[in-house]
């Protein structure tokens, strides 16, 4: 009974905290640009508003257009349950859960992509094509990062993989994972969440025809994914496994803030890349993870 309660509590914390991150990022961007910017809690207001709104569906769509976002949201929330927090570990932990984590995010991508293709719009087709193509490189990078952690810790379970610090290659790993974070969450320089030109969007164009509660599910899922990546990045680099729950949460919250600020700064200071340069940058992320793996390999041999 207590474990069920604990799982629910953890899940609630993940779900409630997630929409904060985009708010912080927007605040940072506004601050750099010298504006006041939207309130930090803006996404909460948006989600609440969307949840009560009616829905306009395209005449072309099938039920998948509504079901897809729901499935994707569940998958991302499931992935959140796999991430450990400090010494208390994850809600579910077993050997090989790291791979389940990666594939749950892939499943979410699959659902959102199909829901987008459902409208038959050429814009959505374009966005999905870009999303799934870039995900190939991002996936290579993230598997490499997992291999690095596996070499480092000698296990395949997130709880033990993430507990120690990433050792000598920590900086490389952090840089690589940060690149993946930016790409997977569609931030500058891979994609611009604020653009208003359909031809240049990746993620935003996939949700053009969504409205009301399904859009709320997508937006919330996206913010949760951002939080997941921020936490994964932190735990991969810092030795959080030794801390007990409260300090761990403190460090996590602090570092999530740092990641959000970094994302905000990157967005303010960099321009979006031309699409033909995106694979190059993602390859760089992959190589950073690969060199982290190399360092871990070299470092570990007695």
């Amino acid at each position: 009974m207590t474990t069920a309660l604990e799982i629910l509590l953890k899940l609630a914390a993940w779900l409630l905290l997630a929409p904060l991150l985009p708010g912080i990022i927007n605040k940072v961007k506004a601050w750099v640009a010298g504006r006041r910017g939207p309130p930090v809690l803006q996404l909460y207001y948006d989600l609440a508003k969307l949840w009560h709104k009616g829905v306009v569906l395209s005449t072309a769509v099938s039920p998948a257009h509504v079901i897809g976002p729901a499935m994707a949201w569940v998958a991302i929330a499931g992935a959140a349950l796999l991430l450990p927090v400090g010494q208390t570990g994850a809600s579910f932990a077993f050997r090989g859960d790291a791979l389940l984590f990666v594939y749950l995010l892939a499943f979410a991508r699959f659902c959102i992509a199909l829901a987008a293709l459902d409208t038959g719009s050429a814009f959505e087709g374009m966005g999905v094509a870009r999303e799934v193509s870039y995900a190939v490189l991002a996936e290579a990078a993230i598997i490499t990062a997992l291999l690095t952690l596996c070499v480092q810790s000698g296990t395949v379970s997130l709880a033990t993989m993430l507990a120690p610090s990433a050792g000598a290659g920590a900086a490389l790993l952090a840089a690589g994972l940060f690149g993946v974070l930016l790409a997977e969450n569609c931030r500058v320089p891979f994609d611009d969440p604020n653009t208003h030109l359909e031809l240049t969007m990746v993620h935003e164009v996939m949700v053009l025809d969504h409205s009301g509660p399904p859009l709320a599910a997508i937006l919330h899922g996206a913010s949760l994914k951002l939080l997941l990546f921020a936490v994964l990045l932190t735990e991969a680099v810092l030795p959080l496994g030794k801390l007990s729950l409260l300090p761990a949460i403190g460090v996590l919250v602090g570092s999530a803030m740092v990641v959000a600020i970094a994302v905000g700064l990157v967005e303010s200071l960099l321009a979006r890349l031309a699409f033909r340069r995106v694979p190059l940058l993602l390859t760089t992320s992959f190589l950073l993870c690969l060199f982290a793996l190399l360092v871990a390999w070299k470092g570990g041999t007695p």
């Binding site: 079901i67 293709l117 999905v128 094509a129 193509s133 290579a140 997992l146 296990t155 395949v156």
Partner: protein, 649 residues
């Protein structure tokens, strides 16, 4: 009933089906289904009890005593054969009915039963000579099934290519079995690990069985044969016939000693097949050709598992080998199931619309909701996504690889490469199946397809449903299938067998179960919420463009364009462009075709070279007796020189 009687019943049912195929389709259906059911029961009985059924009746066929054996490995493959055979039988009774194909349907039924019967016999034979005989019959049966529509030139070409490459494979198998018999002194097959001198024979088996399995670059026959065969035949070809190649590899790497580098080669071939198979699949516009290339990819995944299991065996039976082997074997089942499901779904599309060209399709979910949802289920499974079966087997392979990495043994570097390749393959397969589902079933019809597009009848729907349920069950309760895996693994290499399932498999199953339940709940909840908030309909957002047409939708080629651009170096797509020109462009066109690179760039030039050389040699023969006598003299002189040189030593 004992397995023996059940197998007899199965054989009798299938044989009776051959004879009733021409007279009474109904009787054929019943007897064939009984046969498949009996085979299924026998195989399950064996896997559950773990007792090998061994039968030496004392008959002599072709100078050799008959010896049939149903051990864990054969039973494992027999389960898949009987499920797919039964499903395909029911499916074909509507799909390839007498009414639609009066000329080819009756003979097709007979060949179908002959195919099933002989594949079963291949699994049971424990005598090299008999193995070769039934293998050849099974190959020929498949040829006649592929060329059911022989009035189409493409089908004839595909059949010819299949037959040619199968017989190249056959030559290698002849050599393999003959050398084996010569070295051991008998055609009897069985465990012979104690004869290290037999190890080099592995390479012959690898080519012979690899050609059948469609390992890259030996897959040249596979895409065209799968695309042009009737869909239930494509399903059994992809689901089972290429697995016979895998069966051969697994069987003989288990029974015979292998060279030390064998595991590495198999794993490397697996990695190549997996990545390049899916890359080629992305370049295809033909629905069934695309699925065929995915068979190459999945064979690659199976081989990664098998290869690392072999490496583990050669390094003292490391524990991770067991996981890799279990993953590879489970992927045999899984790929058989979801690929059959996808081919049957593609068959329904073909049946309803008359085209395999994806860029002409679109929006089929309205007319065919069952096919669309079952196809989406199969697509989720083949993309290796949780909570379905494809993920379970890929996860086991991954776990094996990661354990090898953390063990930091000899295999660790290779395991790192394989794990990365597997990740890339998974993401590419996801991209490919998003493309297929989106282009074929979602959106709007791109062309005015025949107005009578309809959902298929229950005899086509039920097999798909059964296979779909099997995919879901393996995904949600993988633990139920561990004993079967353990029995099969024990038949391969007793040291690797472990009847205690790895604990995370239970947790994974529970997680999948919860995930599936929550996914359905959340979908229903959101749907109700949407209905409650009020729903209105409008056109798709088109950026203010006033006259959208369905032709504006993204096509299969444009969708995959980014990724096929990365693989240009091997795909070598042929493009014909007619760009719009002038102020008022009248016509513009773009056509892209991805050829079978290995076939057209390597095999065909090599073939024409051989042909040209042979033509040159033909000049030697022009019918004049004098010149033949001259050749004789030359030959004698050469022999004499050889003899003198030999004698000088």
């Amino acid at each position: 009933m004992t397995p023996g009687w059940l197998l007899l019943l199965a054989g009798a049912g299938l044989a009776a089906g051959i004879f009733s195929a021409f007279k009474s389709p109904r009787l054929w259906l019943v007897t064939t289904l009984i046969g498949a059911g009996a085979a299924f029961a026998a195989a399950v009985l064996m896997l559950a009890s773990g007792v090998t059924w061994d039968w030496r009746p004392g008959f002599v066929i072709g100078g050799e005593a008959l010896h049939l054996q149903l051990d864990g490995l054969s039973a494992f493959f027999l389960v898949l054969l009987s499920v797919l055979g039964g499903a395909g039988t029911l499916y074909s009774s509507e799909y390839w009915s007498d009414k639609a194909h009066p000329d080819s349907a009756p003979a097709g039924r007979a060949w179908w039963n002959a195919l099933l019967l002989n594949m079963g016999c291949v699994l049971l034979c424990a005598n090299g000579l008999h193995f070769l005989i039934v293998w050849e019959i099974f190959t020929v049966c498949a040829y006649f099934l592929i060329t059911r529509e022989r009035q189409r030139p493409a089908t004839r070409a595909a059949g010819w290519l299949y037959l040619a490459s199968s017989h190249v494979a056959m030559i290698f198998l002849f050599a393999f079995f003959a050398l084996l018999a010569a070295r051991t002194g008998s055609w009897e097959l069985g465990p012979m690990r104690g004869h290290p001198e037999l190890a080099p024979l592995f390479w012959l088996a690898l080519i012979g069985f690899g050609l059948k399995a469609g390992i890259f670059p030996m897959h040249i026959w596979l895409p065209s044969a799968h695309a042009n065969a009737p869909s239930h035949v494509s399903a059994i070809l992809s689901g089972m016939a290429i697995k016979m190649g895998i069966y051969g590899l697994v069987r003989f790497t288990g029974w015979l000693p292998v060279p030390p580098s064998a595991g590495w080669v198999v794993a490397a071939l697996g990695v190549t097949s997996a990545v390049l198979g899916v890359a080629f699949a992305l370049g295809q516009h033909d629905l069934k050709r695309l699925l065929a290339y995915h068979s190459v990819e999945n064979i690659g995944i199976i081989l990664i598992g098998l290869g690392f299991a072999m490496i583990a065996v050669s390094h003292g039976n490391a524990a991770w080998g067991q996981l890799a082997l279990a993953g590879g074997l489970l992927h045999v089942w899984n790929h058989g199931l979801f690929k059959a499901l996808l081919f049957l779904g593609a068959g329904s599309v073909l049946h309803a619309t008359g085209t395999r060209e994806m860029s002409r399709l679109g929006g089929l979910w309205r007319a065919m909701p069952w096919t669309a949802s079952l196809f989406a289920l199969g697509a989720t499974a083949i993309a290796g996504l949780p909570p379905l079966n494809g993920f379970v087997s890929e996860w086991l392979v991954y776990l094996g690889l990661f354990d090898a990495v953390s063990g930091r043994g000899h295999a660790a570097i290779a395991a790192i490469v394989a794990a990365m390749a597997l990740g890339v393959t998974g993401a590419l397969a996801l991209a490919c199946f998003v493309k297929v589902c989106g282009v074929v079933f979602l959106g709007l019809p791109r062309h005015e397809i025949a107005p009578h597009v309809h959902e298929c009848g229950w005899r086509m729907r039920l097999p798909m449903l059964v296979i779909g349920v099997a995919c879901v069950v393996i995904g949600l309760a993988p633990i139920l299938f561990w004993p079967a895996l353990a029995t099969a693994a024990a038949a391969w290499q007793p040291e690797l067998a472990n009847s205690i399932p790895p604990a995370p498999l239970v947790t994974l199953g529970a997680f999948h179960l919860a995930l599936a339940a929550l996914v359905i709940l959340a979908a229903a909840f959101l749907w109700r919420r949407v209905r409650r908030n009020g729903l209105s309909r409008a056109g798709t957002w088109d950026c203010g463009y006033a006259a959208p047409t369905a032709r504006m939708q993204y096509t299969a080629g444009s969708f995959a364009g980014i990724i096929t651009g990365w693989f240009d170096w091997i795909l070598r797509p042929q493009r014909h462009e007619q760009p719009p020109g002038g102020n008022f462009p009248a016509r513009a066109g773009f056509e892209e075709h991805t050829p079978e690179t290995v076939l057209e760039k390597i095999i065909e030039p090599a073939g024409s070279l051989v042909l040209r050389l042979s033509l040159a040699v033909r000049h030697l023969q022009h019918g004049r007796v004098q010149s033949y006598i001259f050749y004789l003299l030359l030959g004698l002189a050469a022999l004499a020189i050889l003899a003198v040189m030999g004698g000088a030593k």
